[in-house]
Symmetry: C2
Subunit: 101 residues, 2 copies
DNA sequence: TTCCATAGTCATTTTTTTTTGACTAATTGA
DNA sequence: TCAATTAGTCAAAAAAAAATGACTATGGAA
């Protein structure tokens, strides 16, 4: 009789889980649910955080298409990160995660 | 005018995200959805994995109450890890994660 | 013009996570 | 009895993630 040598391929949830995991990403994502977020604002709001980590998290969230970066050319001239369409579609999932926590 | 010095407390989703993150946990959890899993079986099925990592992941999943460990005292005498009630309640969340992936 | 805020980068260090390899110990099958 | 399977542990090494401190560069406000 043949041995069953099946190995498991990918786990679809894994990628998404990875995109939201890391020490600061969940908090950043959650703040982004309430509206556009900014670099220095995040550093102030998220206690214990630091520039480098927030910068890395923002870059990765943007690379993964969860956040969109935009330069606001008005008044005080700054940069905003807001939920992309993909990001918005994750809101329900994120809220469910909160419910079951 | 007072400065707004609010910092953000906890993110409820964060803990749950942490419980499911790590290199091997999503795959283990996914296999556990299909039925009880076993230590050596996981090592065989999950390519690239190793004893220590699987042992650690199983221990943490158990500590977090997602899996339940039980000694099966029959036939070949072995240990099984199966979804706990908490684990089962997460199935919907996990499936949603897969849908949006 | 000087100072503060914004939004970062870069190199290095520290901490955490993951991997490797050696070892244990009971059970089971031939 | 010998060998394989099951289910791990332990210490150490390697790799990845996160933190620190110095630095850059622009825009406003006083």
């Amino acid at each position: 009789m043949e041995k069953n040598k099946e190995t498991v391929g990918e786990c679809p949830a894994e990628g998404l889980l990875k995109q939201l995991s890391g020490k600061w990403k969940p908090q950043i994502f959650r703040l982004a649910l309430e509206g556009p977020v900014r670099f220095n604002g995040l550093i102030r709001k998220i206690e214990g955080s630091n520039k480098q980590s927030i910068a890395t998290a923002l870059r990765e969230l943007e690379e993964n298409g969860l956040l969109e970066k935009s330069v606001i050319k008005l008044k005080p001239l700054h940069i905003e990160y807001s939920l992309s369409e993909k990001g918005k579609s994750l809101v329900v999932v994120f809220q469910q995660l909160e419910c079951f926590a």
